[in-house]
């Protein structure tokens, strides 16, 4: 049985699954139920100064759905906690006392001045919480007041606030980053410069989920009007993976502990974030969609996969994928693949054919010997993978590396690695092939 315990910034938790700062972590009642189901830790929903803000009294959440009304993403216009600071602090203290083995992080958002930060940090320390997370990401409501993503989009502010927090508290400090930014590496670097112990990402993505075509207003609609909100859920995972990878392989921030957030729904999503270097993951949408019990699948799934692969601990595979993230110009141009269709698995929907015929390279038949049959024409196939992506059957179409002569170009495929950096068509071609910079090594997240 694999050991799922993690020690992130020295904060231990029985598994890497934390609940992100969000409605599910707003109250003792909820967090209590989460711990009962097995969550490893929580980031308590963001505290602010009294008097607490108020929320709208109409719909706060929007969504997009896929076929069969499956939730692809949630969006919210909810603000930070709307309960009194004292109430939250009391509950945090009590929950931590009752669940000493679980991680308790407190999310914070106060105005961008030293005094309010100093004050609230002292209060949080008294609760026995394990650390704080600085909410620099919330893209709506608070940002108009100069908080949340209004800070997170300015690296200098991040650095400044992080520094105050480290000065005024001995608690580990995690900076939560907004994805609504041109280059995620800048705020991450700023967090590091300010002395923050870790970054967590991504916060929600500024979005309008849909327009109600009957009343011509964004959803969720409040009295005929709507504002943008922050999107989370499966749809944002690819953005999050990319941003995590950017930070993980940036020389300035490499090795900085990362808590991964963004559409994590199953054990596999979590394993992917961890493979990129995350020390743990935070979840929100999956819990809001299905209830806290979903963590059971995540725990068993991660554990069973680790057993199967022979990983005894999380550290055994953490960060393994980071060195394999590279830039386009270092990809091997001599790696040639062709699509292969498993005729036994093929259900003859023909989507591979029409996708290729209409929108790509006319490399898949629709008829062979007068019968409906879909076969790859190697002389046309560029190996682009589109057919794999549109096929409704898993593993029916796969990409196979070929050697020898490429039937498309009629030219031999060189065996050695080569890339764009010295390609004759590259106007900036170097004399010699350039190699990707040596991958950054990841220290333990435990630090």
């Amino acid at each position: 049985m694999a050991d799922l315990t993690t020690s992130f910034l020295g904060i231990s938790s029985p598994n890497p699954f934390w609940l992100a700062s969000a409605p599910p972590t707003d109250k003792e009642y909820n967090v209590q139920r989460a711990f009962e189901q097995g969550w490893g830790g929580v980031v308590w929903k963001t505290l602010g100064e009294d008097p607490p803000i108020v929320n709208v009294n109409g719909p706060r959440y929007g969504a997009i759905w896929g076929p069969d009304r499956r939730l692809l993403a949630l969006n919210n216009i909810e603000l930070i906690t709307d309960r009194a600071l004292d109430t939250n602090l009391e509950e945090i203290a009590r929950v931590k006392r009752n669940w000493p083995d679980r991680a308790m992080i407190v999310s914070l958002m106060v105005p961008c001045e030293e005094a309010p930060w100093q004050k609230i940090l002292a209060l949080v320390e008294q609760t026995g919480a394990d650390g704080v997370e600085l909410n620099f990401g919330c893209p709506h409501g608070m940002s108009e007041r100069g908080m949340g993503s209004a800070v997170g989009q300015v690296p200098d502010y991040i650095e400044m606030v992080a520094r105050w927090c480290k000065q005024h508290s001995k608690l580990p400090v995690i900076v939560k980053l907004t994805p609504n930014i041109t280059d995620i590496r800048y705020p991450a670097r700023a967090a590091k410069k300010g002395g923050a112990d870790a970054v967590s990402l991504i916060n929600t993505v500024s979005s309008i989920m849909s327009i109600d075509l009957d009343n011509f207003a964004p959803t969720p609609t409040i009295d005929g009007k709507g504002s943008h909100g922050g999107m989370c859920g499966p749809a944002v995972k690819p953005m999050a993976l990319n941003m995590v990878a950017e930070i993980a392989r940036d020389r300035e921030t490499a090795g900085m502990p990362i808590s991964g957030i963004g559409g994590i729904t199953t054990w596999r999503d979590a394993a992917e974030f961890i493979a990129l270097g995350c020390g743990n993951v935070q979840v929100c949408t999956a819990a809001m969609t299905y209830g806290f019990k979903v963590v059971k699948e995540m725990i068993s799934g991660l554990s069973d996969w680790m057993d199967e692969k022979g990983f005894a601990t999380i550290e055994d595979f953490r960060g393994r994928a980071a060195p394999n993230v590279t830039d386009w110009q270092y990809l091997n141009l001599n790696y040639v693949t062709k699509a292969r269709i498993d005729q036994d698995k093929c259900i003859s929907c023909g989507r591979c054919h029409i996708a290729c015929e209409d929108t790509s390279h006319q490399a898949i038949t629709s008829m062979v010997d007068g019968r409906r049959r879909f076969e790859v024409i190697d002389a046309e196939c560029v190996g682009c993978n589109l057919c794999v992506n549109v096929c409704p059957v898993e593993d029916c179409i796969t990409m196979e590396q070929i050697a020898g002569t490429d039937p498309r170009t009629g030219k031999p495929i060189p065996e050695e690695y080569d890339n764009w950096t010295r390609h004759p068509n590259n106007p900036m071609a170097a004399e010699k092939k350039q190699h990707a910079p040596a991958p950054v090594t990841m220290p333990d997240a435990a630090e």
Partner: protein, 460 residues
Amino acid sequence: MNAMTDPARPDIQSGRLPAEALARGFSDLHPALEPHEVLVEADRCYFCYDAPCMQACPTSIDIPLFIREIQAGNPIGAAKTILSANILGGMCARVCPTETLCEEVCVREVAEGKPVQIGLLQRHATDLMMETGHHPFERAAPTGRRIAVVGAGPAGLSCAHRLAMLGHEVTIFEARPKLGGLNEYGIAAYKATEDFAQREVEFLLKIGGITIETGKALGRDIHLADLRRDYDAVFLGLGLAGVNALGLAEGEDQIGTRDAVAWIADLRQTADLSELPVGRRVVVIGGGMTATDAAVQAKALGAEDVTIAYRRGREQMNASPYEQEVAATRGVHLRFNLQPKRIFAEHGHVTGIELERTRIEAGKLVLTGETVTIEADQVFKAIGQSFVADGTDGEGAGIALERGRIQVDAARRTSLDGVWAGGDCIAEGEDLTVVAVEDGKIAAMDIHSALTAAERVAAE
């Protein structure tokens, strides 16, 4: 209610079942999908390339497109897609043997054994369209041409609608009092509930430009020579008026022995089914859809024992496996390899039937000599129909036949100039509503081409 009867007398009576059991037995075979079911089902469609379902549809409805329109919240658009290929798409959604047409080749059937329920989705869209009360198509500018359509079954209606849409004036002649043909008279009641056949005819006629003459039979009230003279074109959608006989030495004319087709027509025109008598023990002879329709309806009327006796094996039955399943699960006993030999009667009334066991030997059906007797109060014959050529002897030699039905070419032209034909009465007829609709549509397009070409020639 079911009073003990004199065992000596055949037991044929009405009112065998309480009203609610009767209603249950005759309720919609495939009830309409609920809105949620529609969305779940529509979302299953993969939008296949050159979709097998569409290829399998005799009217080539663009099924992936109409399902995608449903997915996208546009069921009216879906209905237009359906009806533009098949104006009787509503009835076809109910009576098509989808399990051997579109749904049989659905890739979800291949992949999961569970096809997208195309028929029910088609019904959903067309039902919504009909509920709007609007007709989705407009007539082209009047052409001044007049076409006679003989027979208001699916072929005739389809032909008339398409011609009207193309701007022609159409007169439909129908021998029976109501339009619809087998949709109205021939299909099991639980397949087209709530007077659907008539509602669909009304919907279809909203296109305009179609005049109706009922009670006009070809060869009796109207004559082909006159029609050819008075109209620019004639379309014959005559159906099959004849019924095959068992050809038994005795008993076929006893009271209690009936053609299943006629009995179903009676049933369809009976307003209160509790008044329709049925035998306590019913034997249906035959292996097609008429046999299962008759048997299941006899059971639904309250017959205690209903047996279908078919002279060949299960695999040879024309009724689809699904139809067989409906019969079997509703309590009809399907028996195979039994060929009628003699109908027993007492006092002029059927009491049972003797059948002889058959066997396949070297690919041929042979009798074994062994007999089986099944007691019965009623025996229904459902062994096929035949074309009756009355009235088609236009001028001189009459219309050419092929295998006993009207010979047509790919455009549904008969051997007589200016006369087209389609539906069950043509040699290629498949006894399927959807095929008849396609015949009518093809003939209409060809009539239109012919008249347009004639116009062009005249203008030159």
